[in-house]
């Protein structure tokens, strides 16, 4: 091979190692930066069950309420014996971002205030009734997997329940 060709090959060989590492570093930093950005927007996911509670001749609980069925058979929910799922939704929550929860009766919002000790979520929940009247404004710190259930008795002795759990 000629001197010029050999020289060109040697130059490329010297540059290839450095170039390879620069490229790998750039890609790595890009991926890591992207991952960090995604992590900065990290959220929790909460599941909401809107339940109608009534008293009837025969006990009845919707099959979709299986996750909370045992709870609904205990006091204070044993005031009623018929429970019907009105709506359910699962929402990812970002920090400090108010999320509207679609309800059949009234309206509700939830805000993830922060995550505490890796396993707890601090949530602010607001509820309005079907007339737009403010019912509750609550901030609770709860472990992932545990439940918070809001109960709003209605005038006809029925109940309007909103159950939430986060993971």
């Amino acid at each position: 091979m000629s001197e010029r060709a050999r020289s060109a090959g040697a130059d490329l060989g010297e540059h290839s190692a450095a170039g390879r590492w620069i490229l790998a570093l750039a890609i790595g930093l890009g991926l890591f930066g992207g991952a960090r950005a995604a992590r900065a927007e990290a959220t929790t996911a909460c599941e909401f069950l809107e339940i109608s509670a009534k008293t009837g001749d025969k006990p009845a609980i919707d099959a979709e309420l299986k996750p909370v069925e045992k709870k609904l058979k205990k006091p204070p929910f044993s005031t009623w014996n018929q429970f019907k799922l009105l709506s359910s939704s699962k929402r990812p929550l970002a920090k400090k971002k108010v999320e509207s929860i679609p309800l059949k009766v009234g309206s509700a919002t939830v805000t993830l205030v922060e995550i505490v000790d890796k396993s707890k979520v601090r949530l602010t929940v607001t509820m309005d009734d079907d007339k737009g009247k403010h019912v509750a404004d609550n901030t609770t710190t709860v472990e992932a997997g545990d439940y918070v259930i809001f109960v709003h008795p209605l005038g006809n002795n029925d109940g309007h329940l909103l159950s939430l759990t986060c993971r």
């Binding site: 390879r20 995604a38 992590r39 990290a42 890796k118 601090r122 993971r167």
Partner: protein, 190 residues
């Protein structure tokens, strides 16, 4: 040479056939006991074989000398053409693409390695100050065993136009906090 002999019209007669066999013997293509015996007893046949071999040597030697003569000039020209073709591309983009073309395997290896390192760094990274928030894609927050969970804490509760009662109970699924909001008109009714 033997191919040419096969395609050319074969000479007729026993002498011609015998000479053909001698030529084949000289080329190493025909060797049997009868021919060997004939060569031993026939000096004329041996002379023919030797002549054919000498002629073959002369032809081969000439061809090799011709090839040697071609070698230097031809290969010098080939190297010149190769040199012309491997002149480094001009321009930054040209050099980058040429480098990528030659080192595609290294780029792929580097990319995969960097991705693995980034993934490991992400997984093994210590928790964030707020307690290591993990989003949906990361399995969200840690769900601890029921026995290790702390009771819920009501940080604030406001029930405008009514009263509230907080009830806590535990079961095998963990803690449940019930926030019972009683509207004021109901209270008044009672």
């Amino acid at each position: 040479m033997s191919e040419k002999r096969k395609t050319a019209p074969l000479p007729t007669g026993g002498k011609a056939q015998a000479d053909l066999e001698l030529m084949e013997h000289a080329d190493g293509e025909h060797d049997d006991a009868e021919l060997t015996a004939r060569l031993e007893r026939d000096p004329d046949a041996r002379a023919k074989v030797a002549a054919v071999r000498q002629l073959g040597e002369l032809v081969r030697g000439h061809l090799e000398l011709s090839a040697d003569a071609v070698h230097d000039a031809k290969f010098a020209a080939m190297w010149r053409r190769i040199d012309d073709q491997i002149v480094a591309p001009t321009g930054l983009w040209g050099r980058v693409t040429a480098w990528l073309e030659r080192h595609r395997g290294h780029v792929v290896t580097g990319t995969v390695s960097a991705g693995v390192v980034a993934a490991l760094a992400l997984v093994l990274r210590p928790g964030a100050p707020d307690g290591g928030t993990r989003g949906i894609g990361y399995g969200a927050v840690d769900v601890r065993p029921v026995a290790m969970r702390a009771a819920p804490e009501i940080d604030s509760l406001d029930t405008p136009g009514g009263s509230s009662t907080v009830i806590n109970f535990d079961d095998e699924d963990g803690h449940t906090t019930v926030i019972w909001v009683t509207p004021a008109d109901t209270v008044e009714g009672i």
